[in-house]
């Protein structure tokens, strides 16, 4: 088919991603760390998300990155790979990793922008390596069975009220 390859994430890879996000949250003393697909899909979170609407956060972070990279192209830049939003209490640090991912860090006065920046850079490299490894395994996986285990009838039944 002409449509792009789907993104598939397996348990063991998810755990590695989750671990890197947790490390970053702990080392920076950030409130929250999110990893989001540029398409707005939430991949991993770390920290106490509590009542936060993480789905909306992921979508808007991706929208934010997409809009600013549109701006970047207009002035002849490839993209703005780091965005920083400063609030009264909490701040938001967004950075792009590879072509596909956005790392979001929510932090307050208990840490500093400098430290967040530094450690985000370090984590980005690790995440980049991890995703390179995940992608290289693609196609050799036989665990991706969800769509072979269901039938078109199952799909039809999903929508019968």
């Amino acid at each position: 088919m002409m449509l792009e390859q789907q993104m598939v994430l397996f348990e063991e890879d998810f755990e590695k991603i989750q671990k890197l996000c947790q490390e970053l949250a702990a080392e920076t003393n950030a409130k929250l760390v999110f990893l989001v697909d540029k398409n707005g899909q939430l991949i991993a979170t770390s920290g106490d998300t509590g009542t936060m609407d993480t789905t909306s956060l992921a979508t808007l972070a991706a929208g934010n990155i997409a809009a600013t990279s549109g701006l970047a192209k207009l002035i002849g830049e490839k993209e703005f790979s780091i965005l920083f939003h400063e609030g009264e209490r909490d701040n938001l640090h967004l950075s792009t990793i590879t072509e596909r991912l956005i790392l979001v860090v929510v932090f307050d006065h208990r840490t500093s922008l400098g430290l967040v920046r530094l450690l985000v850079r370090k984590s980005s490299r690790k995440l980049e390596e991890l995703f390179a490894e995940i992608n290289s395994k693609k196609g050799t996986r036989e665990q991706n069975t969800i769509f072979t285990e269901i039938t078109d009838e199952d799909i039809d039944n999903l929508f019968n009220d």
Binding site: M1, M2, L3, E4, Q6, D53, D154, L158
Partner: protein, 200 residues
């Protein structure tokens, strides 16, 4: 591009409502939002101007039940219709899994419908995708208005590929869920086909 997550056991799919400005895209999403149980949908985000025109996109996440033990979640987006928001429209179309084209049935909006359809094809082509290869459906909205063109005529003009088509009055919710369910089914079947290598 669907996102299949074996850790959270979720299938995430992206649907885009496309079409000319004021055709009823936002109205479709609002109706779906109102009529869905709060535990099966998230917050609806509307990034709009002060006059309620969509500025960047509307967004509504919906849970559609379970398939093979996986939760099926659809992310619904609308694009801004006005001609000058072209860059935003292109961004929203990226990695789309399925499209609902919301046409305005009024005779005076025919040029706008055709222009928007063309615009959609161009943006898809920029991503290397042919419209023929995307699961999509057509909705003829505003059937309640006096200047609404005959459905058969609309079909001849706007639906050369013969994709599934629906008449709708989005303000009253007529045709809204029929449209959504059909495109959702087509998208999931297409995904299944990709994984089963052709299939029936």
């Amino acid at each position: 591009m669907a996102f299949i997550n074996y850790s959270s056991r979720e299938i995430n799919v992206k649907l885009v409502y496309y079409g000319p400005g004021l055709g009823g895209k936002t109205t479709n999403l609002r109706y779906i939002f109102q009529k869905t149980a709060p535990d099966t949908r998230g917050r609806m985000i509307e990034l709009a101007t002060e006059t309620e025109r969509t500025l960047f996109f509307d967004f509504l996440p919906l849970a559609m039940g379970k398939l093979g033990g996986f939760s099926v979640r659809f992310h619904l987006y609308t694009v801004p219709g006005q001609v000058f928001y072209d860059a935003s429209r292109k961004i929203i179309l990226k990695d789309v899994d399925g499209i609902v084209f919301v046409a305005d049935s009024q005779i005076e909006r025919m040029d706008a419908n055709l222009e928007s359809l063309d615009n959609m094809k161009i943006h898809l082509a920029e991503y290397g995708i042919r419209l023929e290869d995307v699961p999509w459906v057509m909705q003829y909205n505003k059937r309640d208005l006096p200047s609404a063109v005959d459905a058969a005529e609309l079909s001849a003009m706007l639906n050369p590929f013969g994709v599934p088509e629906f008449s709708a009055v989005a303000t009253r919710g007529e045709g809204v869920f029929e449209t959504l369910k059909t495109v959702a089914k087509i998208v999931l079947k297409e995904l299944r086909k990709q994984y089963t290598g052709g299939g029936q």
